[in-house]
Symmetry: C2
Subunit: 117 residues, 2 copies
C-alpha cells in the first residue's frame, strides 16, 4: 500500500500478502518453540533456555529480539544484580495461538493422507 514493496508481492491475491509478512515473523527454527513455551506465562531467559532443548544463547537472544521488535513478545528487564529478564507474549502474540492451532489441525489432516501413499 505504501512504500516497502520490494517488487513481487502481488502473488497472494487474497489478503494482499500480509500472509507472507506474518509467516516471516514466525520464521526461523526457534520462533515457534519460543512462542509455545511462553504460552500464557512469563518466563525468564535461562528458564526458556532450559526448556527449549538444543537452543543456544545466541539463537535464543536473537530470536527473542526479533519477536520483540515485531510486537509478539514482551521483554521486561529488572535493574538488579544478578540480572533478571522476563519474557512473555503480548496480546498480539497470544492472538496467534488460535490461528496456529487451526494450522496444526490442517497439518494433522495432511499428515494422515501421507500414509496412504
Amino acid at each position: 500500500m505504501a512504500k516497502g514493496d520490494s517488487g513481487n508481492d502481488k502473488h497472494c491475491s487474497n489478503p494482499g500478502c500480509t500472509v507472507t509478512y506474518a509467516l516471516k515473523l514466525i520464521d526461523g527454527k526457534w520462533k515457534l518453540p519460543i512462542i509455545c513455551t511462553l504460552g500464557e506465562q512469563t518466563v525468564r531467559y535461562n528458564e526458556l533456555k532450559r526448556q527449549i532443548k538444543g537452543i543456544t544463547s545466541m539463537m535464543l537472544t536473537s530470536s527473542l529480539k526479533e519477536l520483540e521488535e515485531c510486537g509478539i513478545v514482551h521483554r521486561k528487564a529488572y535493574n538488579e544484580v544478578p540480572p533478571k529478564v522476563e519474557y512473555s507474549l503480548t496480546k498480539e502474540g497470544m492472538s496467534l495461538t488460535p490461528i496456529l492451532f487451526n494450522l496444526g489441525l490442517w497439518g494433522q489432516d495432511l499428515k494422515c493422507n501421507e500414509r496412504s501413499e
Copy 2:
C-alpha cells in the same frame, strides 16, 4: 507419535506440533505464491511461470513437486506432444486458504503496530 521424530518436537505444547509440520509444507520462497496463483483454478506449468514473477523453472518444478507430494497440489499430465501439464489445488490445499487468510489478518494487525515505534 510414531517414528520420524528427530528429537525435539515437544515444544509446541498445544497441538503436538503439527504446526511445525504444517509450516514446513508451505515453507520456501515460492510455495505461497504458487498456492495463491493456483487459487481455485487449474493452471499450466508455463502459465504459472509467467504469472509468478521471478521464479525459475527449477524452483517452480521442485516447489510443485513438494506441494504435490504432501497433497496440497494436484498434477495432471496429458500424454501429448507437445507436453501439457495442469496444476491445481487439492481440496486439502484449498482448505488452507481460510487459515492463511486469518494469518494474513493477524499479520496486518502487527504491521500497523510497527509504525507506532
